[in-house]
């Protein structure tokens, strides 16, 4: 809603000293979302005056054009032209060349004199053209920045809007364009009444405690008119319908400048007098108006639900199939309008319309909203009906239209029909201290009553109980808290004292939340950079990953209205998003990257959630059914590294990113949660079939890590040798142990023993290490692999694994014999389990 300050002032009698900044602040304080205050100023400047064309001589030119050589009376002050003086015997005037076809002697025109500046920095000066000295310029509308009319020069009426005759030489700009400040207001759904000057002016008047004059108030002495067009209301969707008939209207009359100017300030284009008047009254009172060409109506009007199969060509020329839940206006010929949304073409006001039926009705907000949405037809009318218009203003709005039409376009108001009645407003009872309790600010009962009355609420006090009837224009005042808010808006939220509430002692973050918080520092410290991707995905992604048909990652949750057809589903893996981020970094010249992301993934199928009441808490079974409908959506954590993990440099050779970095990422994460990960070689897309580990904690697979399959890397435009891991973070953190126990530390000497074993190439070192641990017994303090050797004297197809074992006893120094015995016991288990050969005794 664009509300010019001058228009607001017409109904809110604000002090002259109140400026637009103060009004802005008052409106914002009252809850209007004022997005902008546009200061509209004339785009032209300098001496621009009213002139009278005294004479006009047409002079055809060699270039085919015809120019007019005019003598123009620009007022005595400006007629003393130095460049193109009046000839002997000619009346005082300036000589001006004009190229417009519509210039004629006797016209009152707008003259830009030398020294004036027109929009676009166009400087006016006397200049020689077509054999004359042109000493000024007769202006067209667009040249003055007033509109886009360039059919010819602008001609002025003999008198201004107040009836004062125009005099050559007087400044022209004030007649054409008022400086104004326009408030651009984003009206929230609860303040539909502020989609009108009436509503905004009411708020401004209340804020400044200034008198308010209601544009929808009708004089009590309004004459009673004969009954007009028969109107039948056949649906509960239209409780009230007013129709006023105007006859003898002259469709050729143009809109006066003030009317077109106001509409322009409010953001609407001038179309024709009849249409402009309906729009003007809608903007002023907030009641959408529809005008019918009465001569094109067949019989009376009915408001009803559409019937299946009915069609309508709306004003925008579109043929629309109607739905039985659409409210329509019909006459003898069938449907002639989509009620409250858009009229039909057949009964449209046109250039020959002389008899007009003006409709001002009240339609069900929900029905209008649904129809506008169904037909994708948001209109000025539907926006207002959706938010609820004032049913009590309908008839007076129709009469205001009729009065303006006859005043500006001739004719007379001949008949009126009012069908239905104003719906009763709901009555609410509240405790007088409720507003103060809700706001946290003491508001006396007297003040509550005064504020609500000023807002138009009827207040009946019974001790501390207030019985409240909201005004017809405030459908938002319904619940007790609505009235509390109204009081708050009027006292201003800014005066309410801020108080920090005292929460009961909390438990802090949950264990899982704390672990996730520590990942925020731990993973970056290990070299990984976090990214955040969009979680949208497609089956094509899974094809590129090489994921099989029966893989869980194929269970996509699909969106009904995806933003892009190329990603119609939600992700089941974080890897494609990371691959895209890697590719983007590489395209920007960042070749060595180690990225990670954490976020939810979604595994279908989605169920069907029950439709539940909001009037009370749902039953446990209902909530369980709701939960069961949700797809499984665990939080995953994934990483991808490409290029050089450590570049070659002054300190030595580089190290390429590889499978072990992905494994280290997973292990660092698990360690943070107090968990050790076991690894088994698996073949799992999208990983390299020989370089992928399934990561297991307590027998449960919590993810995979390794090197990406070369074909997948290629499919995503990545280089070969990509490290990648993906973990189910929720599953991992759920396994995190409790507080744990701290053991006593032995200060007795350590006994070190090394063991080298020759085993088959296929035997994992982890299995050998496990065997050694098992055999070494309780004295073993630690075990570490320190060498893997292939080649003579180790036979082909076998490898030598060297382990360092450390033994320590809790309460004594171990003897050499004890350490050797423990070492031999460890070796024995590995030998028997893997056929290992001890290389060094």
């Amino acid at each position: 809603m664009r509300a010019p300050l001058s228009w607001i002032r017409e109904y809110a009698r604000l002090d002259a000293g109140v400026d637009s900044r103060q009004v802005y602040e008052a409106l914002v304080r009252a809850g209007l979302e004022v997005e902008n205050v546009e200061k509209v100023r004339p785009a032209a400047a300098g001496p621009i005056v009213v002139g009278r064309v005294l004479s006009c001589v047409c002079e055809p030119q060699k270039n085919g054009k015809t120019i007019a050589w005019c003598r123009v009376d620009c007022g005595s002050e400006h007629n003393a032209s130095v460049s193109s003086p009046a000839g002997a015997g000619e009346p005082a005037s300036r000589g001006i060349v004009c190229g417009a076809p519509n210039v004629a002697a006797g016209q009152l025109v707008v003259v830009a004199l030398p020294g004036a500046e027109l929009p676009g920095g166009f400087q006016i000066a006397a200049r020689k053209t077509y054999g004359h000295i042109s000493d000024g310029m007769i202006c067209a509308e667009d040249e003055l920045g007033l509109g886009d009319g360039h059919a010819g020069i602008l001609t002025l009426p003999a008198a201004d809007d107040a009836g004062r005759p125009l005099v050559p030489g007087e400044p022209a700009l004030p007649l054409l364009c008022q400086s104004d400040d326009v408030f651009d207001i984003a009206v929230t759904p609860d303040m539909g009444y502020c989609l009108s000057i009436r509503g905004v002016a009411r708020e401004a008047a209340q804020a400044f405690k200034a008198p308010f004059r209601d544009p929808a108030a009708r004089p009590a002495s309004a004459p009673v008119l004969p009954a007009g067009l028969p109107v039948r209301l056949e649906t509960a969707g239209c409780p009230l319908f007013a129709a006023v008939t105007v006859e003898g209207f002259d469709p050729a009359q143009p809109s006066p400048r003030w009317l077109a100017g106001r509409l322009q300030l409010a953001g609407m284009r001038s179309i024709s007098l009849a249409v402009d008047v309906t729009n003007y009254v809608m903007l002023e009172i907030g009641q959408p108006i529809h005008g019918y060409d009465a001569d094109r109506l067949e019989g009376g009007i009915a408001v009803r639900q559409a019937e299946a199969g009915e069609q309508l060509v709306t004003l925008d020329g579109t043929r629309r199939s109607l739905d039985p839940s659409d409210l329509v206006i019909a006459d003898g010929s069938g449907v002639i309008g989509l009620a409250g949304v858009m009229g039909g073409e057949a009964t449209e006001l046109g250039p020959t319309t002389t008899r007009i039926v003006i409709e001002a009705a009240f339609f069900d907000p929900v029905a209008i909203g649904a129809t506008a949405k169904r037909h994708k037809l948001p209109s000025e009318a539907s926006r207002r009906f959706e938010r609820g218009v004032d049913p009590a203003a309908a008839a007076s709005a129709a009469h205001r239209v009729a009065a303006l039409l006859t005043e500006l376009g001739g004719g007379r108001v001949t008949a009126e029909t009012t069908a239905g009645a104003i719906p009763a407003a709901p009555v609410q009872t509240i405790a007088a201290d409720l507003p103060g309790r809700v706001l946290g600010h003491l508001v006396s009962q007297a003040e509550v009553e005064a504020i609500l009355r000023a807002s138009g609420v009827q207040v009946a006090a019974d001790g501390p109980r207030l019985t409240l009837t909201p005004p017809t224009w405030r459908p938002d005042l319904r619940d007790p808290y609505d009235f509390a808010e109204e009081v708050g808006r009027k006292i201003g939220f800014d005066i309410i004292e801020p108080v920090v509430p005292k929460a009961p002692p909390g438990r802090g973050r949950t264990h899982a939340q704390r672990l996730r918080q520590s990942l925020v520092t731990a993973l970056p410290a290990a070299g990984w950079t976090e990214v955040v991707s969009f979680p949208f995905a497609s089956a094509a992604d899974l094809d590129k990953l090489g994921v099989g048909d029966d893989d869980e990652r194929r269970s996509l949750v699909l969106l009904a209205n995806p933003l892009a057809d190329t990603s119609p589903a939600l992700r089941t893996t974080l890897l494609p998003g990371l691959f895209a981020a890697v590719a983007r970094n590489r395209s920007r010249g960042l070749d060595d990257v180690a990225l990670y992301e954490q976020g939810l993934v979604f595994f279908g199928p989605a169920g069907q959630a029950p439709a539940l009441s909001v009037l009370q808490r749902p039953a446990a079974g209902e909530l369980a059914a709701l939960e069961a409908a949700l797809p499984r959506q665990p939080r995953h954590l994934a990483c991808v590294a490409v290029g050089q993990w450590r570049p070659a440099g002054w300190a030595g050779p580089g190290e390429a990113a590889g499978w072990r970095h992905a494994v280290a990422f997973a292990e660092a994460t698990a360690r943070l949660a107090g968990l050790a990960v076991e690894r088994q070689a698996v073949d799992q897309p999208p990983w390299h079939p020989g370089r992928c580990a399934a990561l297991t904690v307590a027998g449960q697979i919590i993810g995979h890590a390794g090197e990406l399959h070369s074909a997948v890397a290629q499919a995503y435009g990545l280089p070969d040798r990509v490290a990648a891991a993906e973990l189910d973070l929720d599953a991992l953190l759920a396994l995190a142990p409790g507080p744990g126990r701290l053991p006593p530390l032995s200060a007795f000497p350590v006994a070190k023993e090394d063991i080298a074993l020759i085993v088959d190439e296929a035997t994992p070192q982890a299995a050998v290490a496990a065997a050694l641990r098992e055999g070494a017994g309780d004295l073993l303090e630690s075990l570490a692999l320190f060498d893997v050797y292939r080649g003579a004297p180790v036979p082909a197809g076998r490898k030598s694994l060297a382990f360092a074992l450390r033994f320590r006893a809790p309460g004594r120094t171990l003897t050499e014999a004890e350490a050797a015995a423990a070492r031999d016991a460890a070796t024995a288990v590995a030998v028997s389990r893997f056929g290992a050969v001890a290389r060094i005794a």
């Binding site: 309790r437 946290g440 509430p501 929460a503 009961p504 955040v532 009904a560 989605a606 959630a609 909001v614």
Partner: protein
């Protein structure tokens, strides 16, 4: 009596004080003159060794009269002690000098790159969400989380967003197929508030950080998936003033002294509803009174919208089975991306989701 062997038999005057003094002085001089460990070793042999005058004197002492032997022994011991001290002191000097020389030779360019592995960083949004959570954890609030694919009842109905509310339109909400699923990608983190009211004992003081979704095209100021942090307090006697106090505290922590403004607005789930604005961080309000200095950031209003808030609508409490006559509450919600833009000056939303490592690292102290 055989002639004294000049090699083995020191002259008798060697035990005279003057002679010993002479020997000692010569020895100390030789020690002082030693420039290397080898010099020092030679000096030790020459002046304190078995065949040195002092060494020979020690052997000869046994041949003296018992009466003389005591005096001579004392004198000789003192002389040898002086030489030994000189040797030890010179040895310490030489080894300190040698160490100093070695260390000097080992000087490195300490400006060489030291950490040669990759340099990581958390995403600024993640880090900011943790910071925001910390503000509330410090006040005793707890952090609540919930699913991103959510039932419409949780996301809309329970929050007093009726079936015809415009926010439910396909132009704003991403729906899960098929429509009968009644599931959406949550459009705000408010369903977590509903879940908290359904599952936690009263009073409830929680914040819910998380990812939310809107059917917005992706451009410099809109992303279809972004982050919010919402707060909810439901207790006896809570009012709008408590909301103001909480938000003022949050703003003071996050934006250090910025002015805030709270003004009425509309949300279905709060009544009264409000918006919290921050003083424009570019023009600091100056553009509002000075038409010659327009501000694009705040449209010359002087304020920028930070988030929505209000007193919990009693209809929401009723849908969660809470008695609105006894309990009241307040709620608020802010965009984390928006907060990041205000706090750290991020200009383009696209940078937050494209994964360029330079964006994440910008706040991590990484040199160019």
């Amino acid at each position: 009596m055989p002639a004294p062997d000049s090699q083995l038999e020191p002259p008798a005057q060697s035990f005279e004080a003057a002679a010993l003094e002479h020997l000692t002085a010569a020895a100390v001089q030789a020690v002082a003159a030693a420039a290397t460990a080898a010099d020092l070793k030679a000096a030790r042999a020459a002046h304190l060794g078995e065949r040195s005058p002092l060494g020979l004197a020690g052997r000869a002492i046994g041949g003296l009269d018992p009466a003389e032997r005591k005096t001579a022994g004392l004198r000789l011991g003192a002389a040898r002690g002086l030489v030994a001290d000189a040797l030890a002191a010179r040895e310490a000097e030489l080894s300190a000098a040698e160490l100093a020389a070695r260390l000097a030779a080992e000087r490195v360019d300490v400006s060489l790159p030291a950490d040669l592995g990759p340099v990581g960083a958390p995403h600024p949004i993640t880090a900011l969400m943790e910071d925001l959570g910390d503000v509330f954890a410090a006040m005793g609030w707890e952090i609540a989380e919930g699913p991103e694919v959510e039932a419409e009842w949780m996301n809309f109905d329970a929050l007093n967003i009726g079936p015809h509310h415009p926010a439910r339109a396909a132009s704003d909400t991403l729906f899960v197929a098929p429509a009968e699923s009644r599931l959406v990608l949550r459009t705000h983190t408010s369903p977590v508030q509903v879940r908290s009211l359904l599952s936690r004992p009263l009073p409830v003081y929680i914040v819910c950080p998380g990812k939310v979704y809107r059917a917005d095209e992706f451009d410099a100021t809109h992303v279809p998936a972004f982050h919010q942090i919402e707060g909810l307090a439901v207790d006896e006697g809570l009012a709008l003033g408590h909301l103001k106090g909480t938000l003022d505290h949050l703003a003071a922590v996050m934006f250090d002294g910025v002015r805030t403004r709270i003004r009425p607005s509309y949300f279905p789930f709060t009544e009264p509803s409000a918006e919290i604005d921050l003083e424009c961080f570019v023009c600091h309000g100056a553009s509002a009174d000075d038409p010659s200095r327009p501000c694009r950031t705040c449209s010359s209003e002087g304020w920028i919208e930070w988030g929505g808030c209000g007193v919990v609508n009693p209809r929401v409490l009723a849908a969660c089975g809470i008695d609105p006559e006894r309990y009241s509450g307040f709620a608020f919600g802010m965009g984390v991306e928006r907060t990041l833009m205000f706090r750290n000056g991020a200009a383009d939303m696209r940078d937050m989701v494209e994964g360029d490592i330079r964006f994440s690292r910008a706040l991590a102290g990484v040199a160019r």
